[in-house]
Symmetry: C2
Subunit: 344 residues, 2 copies
């Protein structure tokens, strides 16, 4: 959500009503040197519509912009334009994520009842140099979600998280009656027989928020965390932007399973290893190289170019190109499409 501190009350149609602000946020992802990255802007720009607002946070924020009901033809165009102004980037692949208007979730909603509605977008692109507009930077996604990167095996942090969550669920269940927290923890973090489901990024973040473990819970209340683990649960972001980022990361991970979106993240021509690394970076999982190659080749998703890339450090690899025609040939890629491995 993005909004100014304005809490003014407007009048229209003869009746008084609190001001409603519509903000657009963009989760813009890329992969550089096999790391998933997200485009962020500095906090001083984090105001909407009200240029005189002071920074409300020192954390990074997602690029965003106000929706201008007078001039913007569609939400998406407005978002593209805002991103272009704010970061100098022209977006390609874009999809809508989610719309929130939860009361009280955005601390910038004044007590006067002003309301913020925010529409989140996801964009994928090949990382390029930033035009250096304002304070835009690429940040490593897994700095915000250290528990989501399983490429090096199960992160040690997971054990601690589970312990902290079980601890919390024990306390809560004593006071209130509920006993479903255990089940949620099991499902989210793949305990028991479940296995890790890379897709559930948002569910995990929200559980951690509810358990009062992530920093934002305390920042939203201007208090200090009670648990020492909070400091190691990734960098916080401004407002509820980490939650939006979680939504976006989860969405790509899910979409990769049935649509060839990975190609949005890599150059026109690429080696299969590069493609594999992009998929792995986003999914946070490692895959079997030979089988990955078999999958990609047999799915008809790529065409060999005959050219090779020399700088591999070993035998030169062939350069491939995405075969758009595949969309016409195979029933919605999803049968034999590119996707991350099942789980560790």
């Amino acid at each position: 959500m993005s909004g100014s501190r304005a809490s003014s009350t407007g009048t229209a149609g003869g009746q008084s009503y609190p001001k409603l602000l519509v903000g657009l946020n963009a989760v813009i992802l890329a992969v550089t040197r096999d790391q998933p990255r997200v485009l962020t802007v500095g906090p001083q720009t984090a105001s909407l519509g009200d240029a005189s607002a002071k920074p409300v946070s020192t954390s990074r924020a997602l690029p965003f912009g106000p929706f201008d009901r007078e001039h913007d033809r569609t939400l998406e165009l407005c978002m593209r334009e805002a991103v272009r102004k704010q970061t100098g980037i022209d977006l390609g692949y874009v999809e809508q994520l989610y719309t929130f208007a939860d009361k009280g979730r955005d601390p910038r909603e004044g007590s006067g009842g002003s309301r913020v509605l925010s529409v989140g977008y996801l964009a994928l692109l090949q990382e390029g140099p930033l035009a250096g507009v304002e304070d835009a930077t690429w940040e490593d996604c897994y700095e915000f979600f250290p528990w989501e990167d399983w490429r090096g095996g199960k992160p040690a942090l997971i054990e601690e998280i589970e312990a902290a969550l079980m601890d919390w669920s024990g306390q809560v269940e004593q006071t209130s009656g509920g006993s479903d927290y255990r089940e949620r923890i099991d499902i989210c973090f793949g305990r028991g027989d479940a296995g890790w489901d890379a897709y559930q990024v948002l569910e995990r973040y929200e559980l951690l928020y509810e358990a009062k473990l992530v920093a934002e819970y305390w920042l939203d209340r201007s208090q200090s965390p009670t648990s020492p683990i909070s400091a190691r649960l990734g960098r916080p972001m401004a407002f509820d932007h980490r939650r939006i980022l979680a939504t976006g990361l989860g969405r790509v991970r899910g979409k990769m399973r049935y649509r060839p979106v990975a190609f949005e993240l890599i150059p026109e021509t690429f080696t299969l290893l590069r493609l594999q690394h992009a998929v792995e970076a986003i999914s946070g999982l490692r895959s079997h190289k030979q089988n990955f190659r078999r999958l990609v080749e047999r799915s008809g998703l790529v065409d060999g170019t005959g050219k090779r890339e020399a700088k591999t450090g070993g035998r030169p690899a062939e350069l491939f190109r995405f075969r758009r025609a595949v969309l016409r040939e195979r029933r919605a890629p999803g049968v034999a499409t590119l996707r991350p491995p099942r789980a560790p």
Copy 2:
């Protein structure tokens, strides 16, 4: 999109701006006697915020309600409440679909620049009797999308649609330069090697709209269709509600592939055939009975109750129950989960 005819201009924060209305629409689906059904309301209720507005359409509309920025805590709660008031139904499973604010898409946006932003939701439930509030009725989904029901084999209508689309694409490509329409037609309607992808409901509807074949295109312009096929392309709905319905139907179809949502549509205990029919109704595809049973049983999604249902007309069938625990055991159902058949 839902909005009143109001085109008033408000003032707030010292500057003048056009009024922004936020409307919520719900695609509420159920399955009765093996038919997918959608909950609709009469057109006379199709006004938002402005009770004196006259009906703008004689078609059915989706249930909806205005978002009250003052009182509603979240968008979802507001939608649930609006549906309860309008149809007497308490929703269970709900997910957000999409948010639009396209200028000019909603004819109720006055020329004065008033703006409508609408948030769509999807809800699944077991159809029950309606409390008869206002003018709520269940309608057969495939009356709105006759080309989406392949349970009896490829609908004859498809050939006609393809012919009309090819015709249109030929004309368009002559005047403008574009030549990608053929490809879109192929992808959407599964021509060539592609096969039918049940998921692409929205893509197909939008293509038909663009090709000026569906009735709404002409209704939006207060003109009469030029092609005789328009009369057979399903019933129109009010405003852009058929488009929203397409989004919803596509979403469930997609989601069924990797989440056990079909259980939302049937009673607590059910025979496997009933489950199968629910899946088939939504997906619009037939599946192999024995294999369906194998899939469901082996996935661990259901538990036998030991009881049987007698009224089957043949050998009594065992009654099963959804096993929620499966969510904890299998990695995100999607591996061996319930899903519609690949395609015909």
